[in-house]
Amino acid sequence: MKFGVVRFPGSCDEVDAVLACEQQGEAEILWHGDRDLKGADVVVVPGGFSYGDYLRVGAIAQFSPVMDAVAEFARAGGPVLGICNGFQVLCEAGLLPGALLPNVELRFVCRQVDVEVANADTPFTRQCAEGDVLSIPVKHTTGRYYAPETTLAEIEERGQVVLRYAEDYNPNGSANGIAGVCNAERNVMGLMPHPEHAVDPLTGSADGACLFASLAAHAAEPAAA
């Protein structure tokens, strides 16, 4: 199977994402100016600062040619994973509910946190079990998940909350401790923690690899997800 990893001019973590994907399958960079997804089975929108993000984070990226193609891919049921800036971009593009606001502390925070798998029945977490605790780093200034009360109730109800910060680990003031959410169809997911920085025990943890492994398994037999 093949992962496609989007590269905007201001992407920072795309090479890390490629390395994480390559543990599970093939991976190829998708240039922001192209609509061609190069036959990817899974698309990853990585972390970074897409187009500088001097405006609202992720606001410009939704208008790029590659995001046009990614939106189309997602509407057709293709799995799309947005990490950090990628999460922000997917929210801005309307592919995920809610929005990311500046951290409560208003500062960039780089920290290893524990997150709990809240829903293991998604293409992103099918190799985890509900309640699993994963040690994954966060690093962002704008990661406080927000959605209106009714939306929050809805996504909780439908099991769209995929990952939640463990007690005392919420680094940014996210509503309901939400670290990662998916859409109602469960084929698009965004998360603030960086699973691609948790795929090697030598650099701190390998707990993030299960997300990429889940996606690879899903791509191998999509009907089972």
Binding site: P9, G10, S11, C12, D13, V15, D16, L19, G33, G47, G48, F49, Y51, G52, D53, Y54, R107, F108, V109, C110, R111, P137, K139, H194, E196, H197, D200, L202, T203, G204
Partner: protein, 755 residues
């Protein structure tokens, strides 16, 4: 075409003085030109002959430093130096100051400091892989210091985080003499295949001179002369417009474009635009290539209309690079730049005139011999004189206050070792730096094996670069207060501590970069500090066998209150054969033994505790047996590489107990020590051993047989064991006993600095 000689004013001596040139320097310029300079030429000369660009007070001194070594690939003189780390790879690195801009506007000053040092690294063809910073501010009870700290840390994070280069380490000290003149030094490392390293010499007659990146504005005009080469005064707010504004997104694109251009071998040479902008970058390229350059300023893309030719030549707008491109490669270069949405404009060409000729369209507005600009600035000998007494005031006593804030209710706490230990851990120079480094992305690029505070040096694996097991380690050090006590031995200590930090993660030093932050070198006592410091650095490096690969000198760091502490900052890069075999500082396992390896001679003179007690700075430090320290470093390094040690941590500020407490905190486990078992010694007799400072001591832990093997090579004193959740030891007839929670609480004292 007009002749610049005709536009030259009769005499610009007054203007020359205002731009920082002496009368004799002005006369020399007239002599080199064979006429008086016009305004543009004077502006360019004033920058090229400033301390910042010409090193006129430090060049002769720097010649004493060793610059040869077996691993050296590129030494001083290029944008950055480089060492060979095996597997066909080079690591380029350099540290540079951005002190005065940061004192004026900390966020942008620090941000553009990081941006500038990164350009130096990719200018030699290396991809930036890590940033470290070395910061100095006044005491934290000052609102100005907290403002500068807050702004500088946010600025460093803003630039490094946004560009995708991890900030993996650094250091910060708070001392009164930095109150008005903070220090912001940034170090960057880059990686490149050895054969891709590129020099900046312009070559090839008729080749295009291509300006890439941001448009040119009025920001930073005169920065090099006005800001970097004069003392700060009361009117610093007026200098705010001369501080540059950073745009990390632009730099990211310029960096990617440059690295792709080098990968495809489309550039003949490359240079970044830093201090003195186009003037210095172009004339240095011409000088190294022994050629001339014709530049047409009307071709330079501008941010503002109606800029004068001289403004275009001296602007310090950020995120710009200058390349020499063969005419037949130009179309391909333009195509790469277009893909990265990076501006790229031909602004001139390489000539054989050995002159810098500046045009504004058809009109020639400047004509200067390259040699006069780059090589003919007069060099000055320092006139050092040792001051009769210590020139720095005693620090304010803060010990009682600290003991009170660490919540100690012990009777007569000021001579209670537990209360003093907690006060030291809570003091601004020793408290955990977590609230700072959590503002930096330490992880991007997937190389970071040892994060800040986990080990004495940052460790980066190279598996994704080489496919092999090797790693590199980096440390940056420099304790200005110790150098203020004794410029020679204080600097020796800084170099040795840096090498000790590398030894603790199993790394062998390959090269060193330095940033010499001092006061006004025209003052005899500062000249003495500078000379003695460079002598100490040279002697230590010669004995360690480590060369200097490049660096930076930042002088005139003083205010009305006098000079800063003399602050030589050194950054060292070392190699590690196996990334899996690097020790952290944290104790690991119940039952491991704790030992001191090496033979440090601790003394309270000039120590962190002496500072908390408000004691005057001494005028000398104890000499160090450099060879003995090196033997201990070699032994520790080998033991770490053999996988023998569970932890290794060099004893530094605060002394042995602070080092042990840090190892307890990092490992989340206690220790019981018995090294002061005798109950006939008084606390006063024991205090120098507990809290005195010296280089060359290592707190190590591991299985008993591993420590015994270490003891066969160098003196190693086993004095305790790992376990429990308290740090406990007998101190004479008393018993020191503190819980991990108490240690942790004290150590997290800086959290409040950012609220």
């Amino acid at each position: 075409m007009s002749d610049p000689a005709a536009t030259a004013a009769a005499d610009l001596r007054g203007e020359a003085r205002a731009l920082g040139l002496t009368d004799s320097e002005y006369d020399l310029i007239c002599d080199k030109l064979g006429r008086t300079p016009n305004g543009l030429e004077l502006a360019v000369f004033s920058l090229m002959w400033s301390e910042h660009c010409a090193y006129k007070h430090s060049k002769r001194l720097l010649g004493r430093l060793p610059t040869e070594g077996p691993h050296l690939l590129m030494g001083p003189g290029e944008n950055a130096g480089a060492v060979d780390v095996g597997d066909g790879l080079a690591i380029a690195f350099k540290v540079e100051s951005h002190n005065h801009p940061s004192a004026v506007e900390p966020f942008q000053g620090a941000a553009t400091g990081v941006g500038g040092i990164m350009r130096d690294i990719f200018a030699v063809g290396a991809r930036p892989i890590a940033v470290l910073d070395s910061l100095r501010f006044g005491e934290l009870d000052s609102a100005r210091s907290r403002y500068l700290l807050d702004g500088a840390v946010a600025g460093i994070g803003h630039y490094g985080n946004s560009i995708g280069v991890p900030t993996v380490g650094g250091e910060v000290y708070f001392e009164g003499p930095y109150e008005q003149n903070c220090l912001v030094n940034a170090m960057c490392l880059g990686i490149a295949p050895k054969e891709r390293l590129i020099r900046s010499a312009a070559a090839g007659l008729g080749n295009h001179l291509v300006l890439m990146g941001a448009r040119t504005g009025r920001d930073g005009i005169g920065g090099a002369s006005v800001l970097a080469s004069a003392e700060l005064g009361d009117d610093d707010a007026d200098k705010r417009p001369t501080v540059q504004i950073g745009d990390p997104f632009e730099e990211k694109k310029v960096m990617e474009a440059c690295l792709e251009l080098l990968d495809r071998e489309l550039l003949a040479s490359l240079q970044d635009l830093g201090a003195a902008g186009l003037s210095s970058s172009s004339s240095e390229m011409a000088s190294k290539g022994e050629v001339g350059l014709d530049i047409d300023v009307s071709k330079v893309p501008l941010r503002e209309e109606d800029m004068e030719p001289f403004e275009i030549m001296v602007s310090e707008s950020q995120e710009r690079m200058l390349a020499v491109v063969e005419p037949e490669q130009l179309a391909a270069v333009e195509k790469v730049c277009e893909r990265w949405e990076v501006r790229c404009t031909v602004i001139g060409e390489v000539t054989d005139t050995r002159r810098m000729r500046i045009f504004d369209g058809d009109e020639q507005v400047g004509d200067m011999p390259v040699e006069a600009l780059v090589d003919d600035c007069p060099l000055y000998d320092l006139e050092p004189e040792e001051p009769a007494e210590q020139i720095y005031p005693a620090p304010k006593r803060t010990l009682d206050e600290l003991i009170a804030t660490t919540g100690d209710d012990r009777a007569s706490a000021a001579d209670d070792p537990a209360a003093i230990l907690l006060a030291l851990l809570a003091s601004s120079n020793l408290a955990s730096r977590r609230p700072l480094f959590e503002q930096y992305d330490a992880l991007v690029q997937s190389r970071t094996v040892r994060r800040p505070e986990a080990a004495d040096a940052a460790v980066l694996q190279l598996v994704h670069d080489t496919g092999g097991s090797t790693a590199i380690a980096i440390s940056i050090d420099g304790n200005g207060r110790r150098v203020a006590c004794d410029p020679y031995w204080g600097t020796v200590e800084a170099v040795l501590e840096c090498a000790s930090n590398l030894a603790c993660v199993g790394a062998e030093p390959l090269g060193l970069t330095n940033c010499l932050n001092f006061g006004n070198p025209e003052k005899p006592h500062v000249a003495w500090q500078l000379s003695r410091s460079v002598e100490g650095m040279a002697d230590a490096l010669n004995q360690l066998g480590v060369p200097v690969v490049g660096g930076n000198v930042s002088l005139y760091n003083q205010s009305g209150d006098g000079p800063i502490y003399p602050t030589p900052v050194v950054g060292m890069v070392g190699s590690i054969p196996d990334a899996k075999r690097t020790a952290g500082i944290g104790f690991a396992e119940e039952g491991h033994v704790v030992a001191m390896c090496g033979t440090p001679q601790p003394s309270l003179a000039g120590s962190a505790l002496a500072k908390l007690r408000g004691e005057p700075l001494p005028t000398s430090l104890a000499p160090v047996d450099i060879a003995a320290v090196k033997r201990a470093q070699d032994a520790v390094r080998d033991a770490v590489r053999a996988g023998d040690l569970a932890s290794a941590h060099d004893m530094a500020e605060g002394g042995v107990l602070v080092a042990i407490a840090e190892s307890c905190l990092a490992g989340g486990i206690g220790a019981t020590l018995d090294f002061f078992g005798g109950d006939d010694a008084t606390y006063a007799e024991l205090e120098p051993y507990l809290f005195g400072e010296a280089v060359g001591g290592f707190i190590v832990s591991g299985p008993r047989d591993a420590i015994d093997r270490l003891a066969e090579r160098v003196p190693t004193d086993v004095f305790g064991s790992v376990g429990g959740d308290r740090l406990e030891l007998p101190v004479g007839d008393r018993r020191l006993s503190v819980s991990l929670d108490e240690l942790r609480m004290a150590h997290s004292a800086l959290a409040g600095a950012f609220s």
